[in-house]
Amino acid sequence: MSKLPIWLRMISNAAASLVLGFLVLPILAVVPASFNKASFIALPPRNYSGVWYERFFEDVEWQTSLYNSLQVAVIATAIAVVLGTLAAIGLRRLSGRWRASITALFLAPMIVPVVVTAVALYRSALDVGLSGTIFGMSLGHMILALPFVVINVGIALRGVDDNWLKAASGLGGGSWTVFRTITLPNIVPGIVGGAIFSFITSFDEVVVAVFLAGYSNKTLPVKIWESIRLEFTPVIAVAATMMIVLAIVLFAVAQFASRSQGNSAR
């Protein structure tokens, strides 16, 4: 097994390349589709032009949806990062059964099917008047993002030695000083990672947003979702390309953050 015959190695390499191609290439199909000149979606397009990019940037509805998405993602991330970081630090002080069950509770939004969460939030948002509001969507996304912060900060906290904290408080540091000078600097990469995950979770999220958006506060994915069902023009491909570009930028930032985490751990 450690030396597979050459023909078997070639077959497994070829199969792996095919599957990797299947994973990556289809995503890129939206990029040529966005440069179509015609008013219908075709792949590959007959004539290329940037006309749908102009349309995207001139259309108030698309612009508003992009702005709404950014707003929702920023609010959701801000709340999730603060609550999740505090919770992760609290969880570390617990032990045994308490720690396991409270962790499970924080991870629950990942396990409950998102449609169920969306319908439940929609119902309660209707009752308290948060349906169709930016804040309502932000709260919904914050709940979905919270597990990422708790996990990421939790992992970063493993790099903080309890003895450092004891030493710091033994030297007369109050709990805030100890947190600010010892804990915080060591978990910053985890917080940044959690924040990036939160942001992308919110920015990409469709289902909760579709239920909570209402008529006037659509996010970019909601606008894409509706356009797919109503018009199906290349402007959707432009919006999809925008989302890919943003994801790649965030991916690069996250790589950078995790690299600096690796360095600071050493």
């Binding site: 450690s2 599957v19 289809p26 505090l86 609290g90 924080f106 914050m142």
Partner: protein
Amino acid sequence: MQTGLLLAPALLVLATVFVIPLARLFALAFTDPAGTMVPFETLLGSPVYRQVAFNTLVVAGSVTAICAVLAWPVAYVLSRLKGVWFIVALYGVLFPFWISVLVRTFAWMLLLERNGPLNKLLMGSGLTDSPISLLFNNTGVMIGMVHVLLPYMILPLYSAMSRIDRRLLLASDGLGAGLLDTFRRVYFPLCLPGIAGGATFVFLLSLGFFITPALLGGANAITLSMLIANFVNERLAWSLAAAGSIALLAIVLLIMGLTAKLLPLDKGMFAK
């Protein structure tokens, strides 16, 4: 005391924005004016809804099986590669994670169209004479879902494979076992935990999938989550939506309970 203060804000918000809304939704299933258990009886009694539940399980099962097969070569090659090629292959697996499921599903709508590139390829290669319908049926749903869920199978399998001690394989080789025997009696059993963990992930995520079946399957391939959304949006049948939600969550929790040992929830698998 301080621990409580650290946890309180998040727990309070989680209760208000998640636990209580869920509880309020679930309560609707039991407070139907027609009678306490009527929504459940309606769901279970209707052949249409039973068909939807069956279809959901069939799609989830097929997607899991296809992912299990496709994950093998990638996971194996990942576990053997080093240096630049390892990074390239790993990024190939991780890149799709970062792209919105909506965007990926939209891309498949373009590729699977009647006059789309895939049909052109199939016809050009002489495999079919007329375009085959890949969209708005279970075929389309499964292609799209396998694409989204495959990394969840590859990563646990890769992690199991890379933990295997190569000396075991050498020993098996040295003791005279053939390639197939070594695979069957040493390598495969050591990979099983990875396969089982990945399969659980993929199956559970498939059950709750909404965007991909809604766009690639449409009215011809309805799943449980589409049905729940439909109860709310088209029919304002809140008690049925609540009963459907309870059923879906119950299935998910049941499977999680059965496979609890295989799911390394606390090891940060999700953080990838």
